[in-house]
Symmetry: C2
Subunit: 233 residues, 2 copies
DNA sequence: TAGATTGTTAATCGATTAACAATC
DNA sequence: TAGATTGTTAATCGATTAACAATC
């Protein structure tokens, strides 16, 4: 029985299952058990079975999952059964790389346009796309029914760009800018802030034990006297 | 009392607090309450207080947190108090963009070298860095004591690259390749798989309700007969 | 002292894991 | 029928939220 309100964690794992199924199918594997999917993905077999069961009974007891069938189902669950057109806003280094990257690597998604407000970048060629002025974005969003947008502008421009695209119908934003975006109910934002990924990784790259002990010890001694001047308003 | 084994979710939030503190300090704000930090970050005030309390008592009751003091603490907790040198392996579009991006945007991290095995890319100039052959990586890792590495090679080369860098002392990998990496105990991998981010976002970009109902209905009718031929070995 | 806000303990919620009956 | 593996329910675990005493 399909359950509404499926958690984000479950949804994040679906594309990983999809990728593995793609690989298996390329190798002509027809059936796969949750146990074997576990080996490939690193998630537990129980979790995989539970994830899939949210959407239906796709397997065969005693036999496992038919790879082609399961892939088909996951594609439809995610909504990848027709190619998703998307746009990139911000044609700097990262935006350019992502535009190229997605055009070549991802069979389910197609970057149809890239935008910027910097006159030096407008007109620039990214493979066979030309960078358009940001003013053209509303028109393109409407004409192609764009629902998904990548934002790769600097932090201070991100909210403004988000407001613009949401106003014209975008429902989901992949935000690479190091900024929190406010969006209306029903619009989804995923943050792909690489600085944050990298910094949280640094935490694990050296001996935390002694670092934390020192921090805690120092906090007691050196805490500054509270002052009310210049407080946040 | 500093608690060991702090959860990944907590650690992922620390860089966000840090970024907000950086902004506040730039605006000369001296004190900030958990309530106000909540407004800026989108996390609840309770969660922020709890997160910080894992590491020590950094605030002042009745007054809030001193921004400079708290920033200093978070920097030390994460381990950003000295610049972290890092390397990028894979100098394609994404690797090049990240090399440029990190050099300019992140005061706590420094990309000191980029590597590739493609002769066409070796020798290429990325700002003031020259792309080096992958064979030089072990030497650079050892000489600079590199503990953190970004992997931006194609999926089929990612494991091999991971093995290489781990062998020479890397403890943390930010993996952009769409592949699961196996690493020994004590080495940390964060996956920044943009395809997966994008695909899981697509799930939310259109009306899921009807899509899921259809998937579940179809699953009953059309499930293929199980076959044992060509199974996974 | 009164008002504000932290730090911490307890309660709740949600997600993962374990167990096992159903069934191919 | 016996062996295998799913789908589902129950138990556990962990993380978030709520509450409030401590204290500036």
């Amino acid at each position: 029985m399909p359950n509404r309100n499926i958690s984000k964690s479950v949804i994040k794992r679906l594309p990983i299952y999809l990728r593995i199924l793609d690989q298996l199918i390329r190798r002509d594997v027809e059936m796969i058990s949750s146990k074997e999917l576990s080996n490939e993905s690193g998630f537990t077999a129980e979790q995989i079975r539970k994830d899939l069961a949210y959407f239906g009974a796709f397997g065969t007891r005693g036999a496992g999952y038919n790879t082609l069938f399961l892939r088909e189902k996951i594609i439809k669950i995610i909504g990848l059964d027709s190619i998703t057109d998307t746009i990139v806003i911000g044609a700097g280094n990262l935006g350019t790389a992502l535009t190229r990257y997605n055009l070549t690597k991802n069979p389910y998604v197609n970057v149809i346009a890239a935008f910027d407000k910097n006159p030096d970048l407008i007109g620039k060629q990214i493979d066979n796309l030309e960078v358009l002025p940001i003013e053209k974005a509303p028109e393109v969003i409407k004409e192609y029914g764009i629902k998904v947008c990548l934002i790769t502008v600097p932090a201070n421009a991100a909210q403004e760009v988000a407001d613009l695209v949401v106003k014209h119908g975008v429902k989901a934003i992949l935000n690479f800018a190091p900024a929190k975006l406010s969006v209306p109910e029903g619009v989804h934002v995923h943050n792909a802030d690489l600085t944050i990924e990298l910094q949280s990784l640094i935490y694990y790259s050296s001996a935390e034990e002694e670092r934390l002990t020192r921090v805690a010890r120092e906090a007691k001694d050196k805490k500054p006297k509270p002052s009310k001047s210049f407080t946040y308003d």
